[in-house]
């Protein structure tokens, strides 16, 4: 019976979600839908610790597909829902957020808002829970709401990185569109890579003083999987927009190369004190040149190797001819 009432309420909640889901942004949308399922207690398993993490929004097409498939699943449950009263959590939340005058918002969206606001306090408090607490206060929430973030400072850093990567992907997509429309010249690969890495690293400049703390947080064991995930999606994005469609060993070597370049340039940037980080960009140029040179050298070595082998083969056959071993009798 309790399950029946809960199901009815959840159906109503899902309906409410469905209408708002269209207006919401893309990446929170699939989280929106996921929360609808959570409310219907269909997919909720008994976890001890359930932490909510923002997935890196790399490929927009993937998320669109996900959203349309799940919204069709919602449609079925709408027909069965009678819905006498509004989903109680929804209405009570709207009442409390009346002073902000905003529409229904999911928990994840609120968390994202708090973390974005917390970035302003990072220069003052560092990447800590205090920054999140100060941000919560600016949003008229009690500082006790920092408990929502099980990972504390880690959540803040990961959120920032996800934001930067999203911005990078957007900018690269824009440039790509420009090129396709013919309004811009396609860049050479080396130049493209250099510009993309510089663009991404420039996003760190406002927080460069506290960035070592953020890096150390990312290296904590429980954060390593997430930080690696963000890194790899970023590198993937860069190569995708650089035009890499390889399906062989090159896929790995290219991404490893950019990963190395990015990490080393980041470290150089941390201790760079030149105006506008000129030395960092010079370092970046040199590394890219190195990689390009290495690629060329590798090709040359291969070609030379083949030529040498052919030469040796020729010499061996000549010798055989000279000694008369090749003659057929």
């Amino acid at each position: 019976m309790a399950a029946l009432i809960r199901g009815l309420r959840a159906g109503k909640a899902l309906r409410g979600l469905g209408s708002v889901a269209v207006q919401a942004k893309l990446s929170p949308q699939c989280i929106n839908v996921r929360r609808g399922f959570h409310r219907a207690a269909l997919l909720r398993l008994a976890d001890d610790f359930k932490s909510e993490s923002v997935p890196p929004p790399s490929y927009h097409e993937v998320h669109k597909g996900e959203e349309s498939s799940t919204s069709s699943a919602q449609g079925d449950s709408f027909n069965t829902a009678a819905g006498q009263e509004d989903g109680q959590p929804n209405t009570s939340y709207q009442d409390q957020s009346g002073e902000h005058g905003e529409d229904y918002e999911t928990e994840e969206q609120l968390q994202a808002r708090i973390l974005t606001a917390a970035l302003e306090f990072v220069p003052q408090h560092g990447w800590t829970v205090e920054a999140i607490a100060s941000a919560a206060e600016t949003l008229d929430l009690s500082p006790a709401s920092t408990g929502m973030f099980n990972n504390g400072a880690g959540d803040l850093v990961l959120h920032f990185i996800a934001q930067c990567n999203a911005q990078l992907a957007e900018t690269l997509a824009e440039q790509h569109k420009q090129i396709q429309l013919g309004q811009a010249e396609p860049k050479k690969t080396a130049e493209f890579l250099r510009d993309a890495v510089e663009l991404r690293l420039r996003m760190l400049i406002p927080y460069i003083d506290t960035w070592p703390q953020a890096m150390s947080i990312l290296l904590l064991p429980h954060n390593i999987p997430d930080s690696l995930k963000h890194l790899s999606t970023m590198v993937d994005d860069i190569w995708y927009y650089a035009g890499d469609r390889s399906t062989d060993m090159n896929w790995y070597t290219r991404r490893a190369a950019i990963l190395g370049i990015y990490n080393t340039t980041e470290l150089v940037m941390l201790q760079d004190s030149s105006p506008d980080f000129e030395e960092t960009w010079a370092f970046l140029d040199n590394r890219i040149k190195d990689v390009v040179n290495m690629a060329n050298t590798a090709k040359q070595v291969q070609a030379t190797g083949e030529a040498v082998v052919q030469g040796l083969m020729g010499a061996a056959i000549t010798l055989k001819n000279l000694t008369g071993m090749n003659q057929r009798r």
Partner: protein
């Protein structure tokens, strides 16, 4: 008043439907009692009048509050000693875990409901005080050459600078509060702590007052748990956190058998030997069995309007911390 009218109306309704009830089973009875479903929670099939569980007994709802009051009145003096004896001191670890889960920033207001002897509040004040000092030290350290002004402020800041954390201990039982006050005096924690008599189902506070609401080992004694949850929702500020530390269902079957054996064989005996009160401790272990399990309680908290509800199991599920936010 409203409660008694509801009781009468409900009784009339259910009596008129009794015949239909017996014929068509529980489903229709519950749908008739639609809006009063939450009151029917304590119902056993086929019983009339509002009644609830008191341990394994069934008692009318009005009686339960009185009987719980008497239980705690009689155990108040030996409460802390008994806690240590029954849980072998582990209850201190549980309460410390609650504080770690809470991770309170300095300057927050805590309402410790069913706080009784004040364990949670004392820990809260110590935690925030040490955090505050830690933050002060960080500040001084980060300014590499502290100016004379910083140093002067550092010495002058005797807890009148930043907003101080305050705790309010609320309990329905005066005896428990008395014991708590004595403990506070002995420990020297006098400031920032208030003691209020109040019912968890009807808190004597205005709306949006507190940043944190905790109820440690108290909510299973409340007659109407949903009402207590709604009161918590009311007095918390937006962004405030609800935390509940309570005995819960053990998942591991082996541990469950051991735990049951220990609960029913040892604890009442300890109660008789140390506190001279077998029945109260019998009630205690029975009330643990009657409390809903982790998932059910989590759903109850969500129904009351809390978000991001989570629970953490401690000691294999013997105790669980539930946490929710008012957003």
């Amino acid at each position: 008043m409203a409660a008694s009218v509801r009781t009468l109306a409900l009784r009339a309704l259910c009596e008129s439907r009794r015949n239909i009830n017996r014929v068509s089973g529980s489903r229709i009875k519950h749908s008739c009692c639609g809006a009063w479903f939450t009151l029917c929670r304590g119902y056993s099939d086929g019983s009339e009048g509002k009644s609830t569980h008191f341990g394994f007994e069934t008692v009318p709802e009005e009686e339960k509050a009185d009987r719980v009051y008497k239980v705690f009145e009689s155990v108040a003096k030996k409460y802390d000693v008994m806690n240590d004896a029954m849980s072998l001191g582990i209850h201190r670890l549980w309460k410390d875990s609650l504080l770690h889960a809470m991770n309170p920033q300095p300057g927050l207001r805590l309402l410790d409901t069913a706080g009784g002897t004040g364990d949670i509040s004392f820990r809260f004040l110590e935690y925030t005080r040490s955090m505050y000092e830690h933050q002060q030290r960080q500040k001084v350290r980060s300014s590499q050459t502290p100016s004379w002004r910083d140093i002067a402020e550092h010495y002058a800041s005797n807890k009148s600078g930043l907003p101080q954390s305050r705790a309010v201990v609320c309990d329905i039982n005066k005896e428990m509060l008395k014991v708590g006050k004595q403990r506070a005096e002995k420990a020297g924690i006098g400031t920032d702590l208030s003691w209020v008599v109040g019912d968890a189902e009807e808190l004597p506070f205005d709306d949006n007052q507190f940043d944190l609401y905790t109820i440690a080992f108290g909510i299973r004694n409340v007659t109407h748990i949903e009402q207590a949850l709604q009161e918590a929702q009311r007095v918390l500020k937006p962004g405030g956190r609800f935390l509940c530390l309570e005995f819960s269902k053990v998942s591991n079957p082996v541990l469950a058998r051991l735990y049951d054996a220990y609960s029913f064989q040892m604890i009442p005996v300890l109660g008789e030997v140390i506190a001279g009160d077998w029945k109260s401790y019998q009630y205690l272990v029975e009330s643990i069995r009657k409390f809903p399990d982790q998932e059910t309680f989590k759903e109850m908290i969500e129904d009351a309007g809390f978000f991001c509800v989570q629970y953490f199991n401690l000691t294999g599920g013997i105790v669980a911390i539930h946490s929710g936010f008012k957003l």
